[in-house]
């Protein structure tokens, strides 16, 4: 059940001077190892997941503690308290995870830590795997917690070490902000030495600092502001902020924006001085002021919000009022999606009237002439995925007349044709609470769907609230025994811990019953008729009812069967029985079933079929049969 992708042996065993090809996330995990961190926690989320999976894979052998926490808030609190007790700690999450953890995050900035702590937020410009592309650099501004950004895997590893030292000097955690193209870039990384790991701390009581009742909090806010001043002074003595090259044009950048900048100025053969900021809160005002005074024209390259630009503009007003600044406010760099070299090239070209040595327009025109005819290939639920079966059954049980709130996980893919079984989604856990709201203000049957890991993450408080407030809807908990979307991490319902040990297994049914849900039923989604009947009965009971649909993730199931040498027998269509009614194709959308134009019948791709049998159960002519040898 533990992520099979994590093969951290070389990352753990590698010694100083070794040069490895590492994913940005693996390089970060190596940095955490080199920094001698004693406690690491996470809730998995793309693009951060491999950091934690790598850390989990090394934990027991390396000798530090690692856990998959139930959610990001818990993860920050566990790691935060460890750092208060003088043990270096690390938390990683995706950008929206920091929304969940925002409460302890804000207060941690006030009370601070006594050993180094890093809170890593992996932002996802272009939303490759996310519901928004919020720019978490504003969390640093909001909290007063200093922030570090790196451009490539090597620098990310090195900055992790520097950030721990920095954190200890000001007794505050550091927000380490990455974006997808750092997390998911592979590059050569030279390893450094490892600090000894300490895991037994010393909690020295100081309630006047660590219990922020109003009288304490009032004092601590002043400390935050004082620390920010101190942090800026300290930043001049670090390696975080650097300049490259020289020229009359000045370019200010941070994170992966630096990569595109360097490539663009090379292609343009442009003489420019680049100020690369690694510490982006507090900003090095003296350094930036000198830089502004050295150049008449400034160009700012950053992904997402005009965070640097806003600060640089406000500083320029005082120290270099005549300097001309180009960036997002002038329309030279877009405020949405991830950047690339081309976007920076075009921005620089338009700001400084430079000719780009490549005809992008010609390529674009040619491409648009062919690309509109291509069949789309959106991500879909896998062949044999139990979610497909459950959604088919919910749809049938409610005569497709219900409202179907969804949640965050693979099952959100039920939004696709032909299922269309995702109607509303805000964030992790919102299926339960949106079902409550919608059932209050409509007379429709409401059936929400939530995954097992998401249920533990934020579904439980929402369910407590719904039962307490006497709401009326059905919640389907899709228990596929893993955190599938992010790479098959364990969760409280599995009972395997981040240390790869057997932990306590939290039984979903007992939790639901303990909350006070009276109508709880368990189904096997691969038994179609029984499941439809059970779901229909659940929707017809008063109050909150819960259907637990229990079947393992098809990817895990097939992999485990293969490992055990168990045979997987696919289904095939008997052509004489198939009448070409297309019910299987139009109602399931299983990637293993396809339509043969010439025979006008359905067929099965036996290399994909897992033998789940759902198609066989819904075929009106019984045309699907298990393949004989």
């Amino acid at each position: 059940m533990i992520n099979k992708l994590a093969k951290p042996k070389n990352i753990l065993k590698g010694s100083q001077g070794d040069k490895l090809l590492l994913l940005g996330n693996e390089a970060i995990a190596r940095g955490v190892l080199e920094a001698g961190v004693g406690v690491a926690t996470t809730y998995p989320g793309t693009p951060s997941s491999e950091i934690a999976d790598t850390l989990s894979g090394m934990a027991s052998e390396a000798g530090y503690y690692f856990e998959y926490s139930a959610n990001e808030k818990v993860a920050v609190e566990v790691a935060g308290s460890a750092a208060v007790a003088k043990i270096r700690s690390f938390v990683s999450m995706k950008h929206v995870g920091l929304n969940v953890a925002a409460d302890p995050f804000m207060t941690l900035a006030y009370v601070g830590v006594r050993a180094g702590m890093i809170i890593l937020s992996a932002d996802d410009p272009s939303m490759w795997s996310s519901q928004n592309e919020q720019d978490n650099r504003y969390y640093s501004l909001l909290s007063g917690m200093p922030m570090v950004e790196a451009a490539n895997p090597q620098e990310a590893k090195d900055f992790i070490l520097d950030a721990y030292d920095f954190s200890e000097k000001i007794e505050m955690p550091i927000l380490f902000r990455t974006t997808t193209r750092l997390n998911h870039t592979r590059a050569p990384v030279t390893l450094g030495p490892r600090r000894p790991i300490e895991t037994i701390g010393d909690f020295i009581k100081e309630p006047g600092r660590f219990v922020p009742v109003p009288s304490v909090a009032r004092k601590r806010h002043l400390v935050v502001l004082e620390n920010l001043k101190k942090a800026e002074e300290l930043s001049y003595k670090t390696n975080f902020n650097k300049t490259f090259g020289e020229g009359s044009i000045g370019i200010i950048t941070s994170g992966v924006g630096f990569n595109y900048t360097m490539e663009a100025i090379k292609l343009l053969d442009l003489d420019a001085e680049v100020l690369k900021l690694g510490m982006t809160n507090p900003l090095p005002k003296d350094l930036i002021s000198d830089f502004l005074k050295r150049h008449k024209k400034i160009f700012i390259v950053e992904e997402l919000e005009p965070y640097l630009e806003l600060n640089v503009r406000s500083l320029a007003k005082d120290v270099a009022p005549t300097v001309e600044i180009f960036g997002k406010y002038t329309g030279h760099i877009p405020r949405y999606y991830e950047l690339n070299t081309r976007k920076v090239l075009e921005g620089l070209s338009s700001a400084f009237h430079l000719e780009i040595p490549f005809n992008f327009k010609k390529v674009d025109e040619l491409y648009s002439s062919i690309s509109s005819e291509l069949p789309p290939r959106p991500p879909v639920l896998c062949a044999g995925c139990p979610h497909r079966a459950t959604f088919y059954e919910i749809k049938k049980a409610t005569f497709n007349k219900g409202i179907y709130p969804s949640d965050i996980g693979c099952y959100t893919l039920a939004i696709q044709d032909p299922l269309h079984m995702a109607d509303i989604l805000f964030c992790m856990g919102s299926s339960v609470s949106t079902a409550a709201g919608l059932s209050k203000v409509t007379d429709k049957t409401v059936v929400a769907a939530i995954g097992d890991s998401t249920f533990f993450h934020t579904g439980i408080p929402a369910l407590v609230s719904a039962v307490y407030n006497k709401h009326h809807f059905t919640l389907a908990i899709l228990d596929n025994r893993t955190t599938a979307m992010t790479g098959h991490q364990p969760h409280p319902g599995i009972g395997i811990t981040g240390m790869h040990e057997q932990g306590e297994k939290i039984d979903i049914e007992s939790v639901v019953k303990g909350i006070g849900v009276k109508n709880v039923v368990k189904i096997n989604p691969f038994k179609v008729r029984e499941s439809i009947n059970a779901i229909r009965a659940a929707t017809r009971t008063e109050g909150v009812s819960v259907v637990i649909s229990e079947a393992p993730c098809a990817l895990v199931d097939v992999a485990e069967k293969r490992k055990k040498g168990e045979k997987i027998t696919p289904y095939v269509v008997v052509p004489e029985l198939c009448i070409g009614c297309k019910i299987c194709i139009d109602q399931l959308g299983c990637p293993a079933i396809y339509w043969n134009e010439s025979t006008v019948k359905a067929e099965v791709d036996i290399t994909q079929c897992t033998g789940c049998s759902v198609c066989a159960q819904i075929c009106p002519k019984d045309a699907f049969k298990l393949k004989e040898d």
Binding site: F358, P379, I585
Partner: protein
């Protein structure tokens, strides 16, 4: 090497990320700087996979700009066509003719373009098109799963990548478990020997 950019395009499960990693390890062994770009998570579930390998001292980030690829390895015909955003007249395109139908096509809701149309579309961008069925050679090597190595072998022959074939063979040998070594090397060499 100043800069050599390879775009690998196809669908989930075709071994694209592995192929990209092998290329990058080979580049490192030959003493070059390298960046690999890949996308994980929701984008992967049966969907499109586009990975990039950028080699050379002028390389900082992982993303190939439109039209800038030196080589496109199309693991699947429609995805090779979709990957043409990276192509211009300088680009070499290696096309695997083995089709993986998108769900909309298998459901009969969209048409899959025919192979001649795909090839003529590629030729609008570049004359340097090499096409073959890598799956046939993978099966000849002994396993469908080695299709990515067949494509790597062919890419080494036609791509002018500037990496040593011996380096790649040693990377293949050291990356996979002993029992797959022979099949993988056979697949790589079947691909290498296909184009004269």
């Amino acid at each position: 090497m100043e800069k050599y950019e390879i775009s690998l395009v196809g669908v989930g499960g075709q071994g694209i990320l592995t192929a990209a990693e092998l290329l990058a390890k080979c580049a490192m062994l030959d003493g070059h700087n390298v960046r690999v770009g890949e996308i994980h998570g929701m984008a992967q579930r049966g969907g499109i996979v586009q990975s990039s390998v950028r080699i050379g001292k002028d390389v900082y980030g992982p993303i190939i700009s439109e039209g800038m690829a030196d080589l496109i390895i199309g693991f699947e015909p429609v995805e090779a066509m979709r990957g043409l955003s990276f192509a211009s007249e300088k680009t070499i395109v290696l096309l695997n003719e083995h089709i993986v139908y998108p769900t909309v096509v298998s459901m009969g809701k969209a048409k899959y373009p025919d192979m001649d149309y795909i090839k003529s579309s590629i030729k609008k961008f570049t004359s340097k098109l090499y096409s073959f069925n890598a799956m046939d050679l993978a099966l000849e090597a002994g396993a469908a799963i080695t299709m990515n190595l067949v494509l790597l072998g062919a890419a080494f022959k036609i791509g002018n990548i500037g990496l040593n074939k011996e380096s790649m063979e040693s990377i293949i040998t050291s990356t996979f478990p002993e029992r797959f070594k022979k099949t993988n090397l056979k697949a790589f060499n079947l691909g290498y020997d296909y184009f004269k």
